[in-house]
């Protein structure tokens, strides 16, 4: 007789769980499930990005992938007509930062970033498309249904005149990259998300006093939130050379810091809930991605730290006809975009 068997014989159970015990335990579990369901419902109904990543325990950098692009009344459709082919499993998401409340007339694209999650899900790249970029805007339909003819214009104007669907179509047409999903976020939403994170740390190499954006801070590290955070990503005065490109760099830095903070702080359910509420109110996105797919993406993502995420600006050169505008730099831009396909 071996000792394992003897132990088994010695430690016999006293009695099986009674029906009442099982029912009580099951009841406690279902109560817990109902509480959890409130989160789940928010997830199912919201156009919430970061969540996915967080819920499935994937870390910071991935949180950027705005994959939870669920349907809703503000949702947008993918552009109609011929679109670039999708040759592999890489995932591209267009994020537009808008300067007005979404849905309000005349909302302008303040910033545009194309996010690229590699086919092996190990790296994340953000490509900023400067708003002063002159591009060929394809024929679109404005949200009110009016036809907008193809024309040469600032890349951001596609969003202003044709909404998110038109911005989406423009980016696909200009880059030749198939954009899988698109989302827009407005200032209010941005502030709400930063606040829900408890603020985000920035570093200023020198003191800033910009009456236009309202940013007034001494040099050094600061945790900014609300209006200050917004001012930081909008200001172009008092930082570096004062160009839109310096501003883009700030935005990229801020996004990276935000991601890292999100990865750290959203494990707290109360924080997560506040963040979801803010994101839910602030985001307009396409409804195409179903939950199963989203979870598969988030779970499959292997970007484990912000080091796996890089931010670049689309290569550009001066626009000959207007010194205040720029155009994509032939060759370099093309190579970058090809790498995103």
């Amino acid at each position: 007789m071996d000792e394992l068997k003897m132990i088994g014989d010695l430690l016999t159970p006293e009695r099986p769980a009674s029906g009442q015990v099982i029912a009580d335990a099951r009841g406690r579990l279902l109560d817990e499930a109902r509480t959890a369901n409130r989160f789940a419902r928010l997830l199912r109904s919201g156009r919430v990005w970061l969540t996915l990543a967080l819920i499935s325990g994937v870390t910071a950098a991935l949180a950027i992938v705005p994959t939870v692009l669920l349907g809703g009344e503000r949702s947008v459709e993918a552009p109609p007509g011929t679109r670039p082919a999708k040759p592999g499993k890489a995932l591209n998401v267009l994020v537009v930062g808008s300067d007005r409340r979404l849905g309000a007339p005349g909302a302008r694209a303040d910033t545009m970033i194309l996010l690229h999650l590699s086919a092996d899900r190990k790296s994340l790249k953000g490509v900023s498309l400067p708003r002063d970029l002159m591009v060929r805007i394809p024929a679109c339909e404005s949200p009110s249904g009016a036809a907008v003819r193809g024309h040469l214009g600032l890349i951001g104007s596609a969003f202003t005149t044709g909404g998110l669907t038109c911005a989406w179509k423009t980016v696909e047409s200009v880059t030749g990259v198939r954009v899988d999903h698109a989302m827009a976020i407005d200032y209010t939403g941005f502030k709400g998300m930063v606040d829900a994170l408890g603020g985000v740390e920035i570093r200023l190499p020198s003191a800033v006093d910009d009456p236009y954006s309202g940013l007034r801070l001494p040099a050094g590290r600061h945790v900014v939130r609300g209006e200050q955070a917004l001012a930081y990503v909008r200001t172009r005065r008092g930082i570096e050379d004062g160009s839109d490109l310096a501003r883009i760099k700030n935005q990229q830095r801020f996004l990276a810091a935000m991601l890292s903070k999100a990865g750290d702080s959203l494990t707290d359910p109360a924080r997560l809930y506040a963040f979801l509420r803010a994101a839910d109110k602030a985001i307009e996105a396409d409804p195409k991605l179903d939950l199963t797919t989203m979870y598969a993406i988030a779970r499959g993502a292997k970007v484990t730290e912000t080091g796996g995420a890089t931010f670049v600006t689309a290569p550009f050169s001066p626009y000959p006809a207007d010194p205040n505008r720029i155009q994509l730099k032939a060759g370099a831009a093309e190579r970058l975009f090809v790498s995103l396909r």
Binding site: P13, E32, R299
Partner: protein, 206 residues
């Protein structure tokens, strides 16, 4: 003795545990299926270590903890069984003083013919074979880590690999803990004299 002697085979429908847990992320109520599948078995395991009253609480707690941690379940593992045993074992370990006391009590009744109560009767019966006292004392004397491994194998019928998963320890650690625990138990039993001939045997688990 109540219930079947041992629950040996893993649940035959366990192959879709991972799927169920996955689904429960968005549909939390789906987790009830995991409960229905394993509650009785986990209850029985805890009962055997701490007694039925403690098992009522700890088995229920096991599924609450599992539910809260469902995002961390590794979907590469088909069955939730080792994972649940691991959670139950950690909860049992909070009661390890009670557990040792229980084993000592089992050992005592071996020499107390007037013992009463179901556990005492059981112990008395085992004791009649002349081993209960030594075995209970040996179990009471094991370190927590060694005892967890030994009892997951002896009571839960987990494979070494599953024990490693359940406790989040290396496979090699499972082997070394188990072999140490078995050696101590055998040594205790060996003191009985009538088992002396078994010394040096039973090394099949390495």
């Amino acid at each position: 003795m109540t219930g079947p002697a041992r629950v040996v085979a893993p649940n035959p429908s366990a192959d879709d545990d991972a799927e169920l847990i996955e689904a429960s992320r968005l549909r939390p109520e789906r987790f009830a299926a995991i409960f229905d599948r394993y509650f009785t078995e986990i209850h029985r395991y805890v009962d055997r270590r701490l007694g039925a009253d403690a098992a009522d609480d700890i088995a229920a707690e096991t599924f609450l903890v599992a539910f809260r941690k469902r995002d961390r379940f590794d979907p590469a593992r088909d069955s939730a069984r080792p994972w649940l045993y691991g959670i139950a074992t950690r909860l049992v370990s909070r009661h390890r003083r009670n557990e040792s006391r229980r084993y000592r009590a089992l050992a005592r009744v071996g020499v107390d013919p007037h013992a009463e109560g179901p556990e005492d009767r059981v112990a008395a019966r085992v004791t009649a074979s002349g081993t209960g006292f030594q075995l209970s004392s040996a179990l009471a004397g094991l370190s927590r880590g060694d005892r967890d491994v030994l009892l997951l194998v002896a009571l839960g019928d987990l494979t070494y690999e599953e024990v490693a998963q359940a406790l989040g320890i290396a496979y090699g650690t499972v082997c070394s803990r188990l072999s140490r625990a078995r050696r101590k138990v055998r040594a205790a039993l060996g003191d009985l004299g009538d088992l002396g001939g078994r010394k040096g045997g039973e090394e099949n688990h390495g």
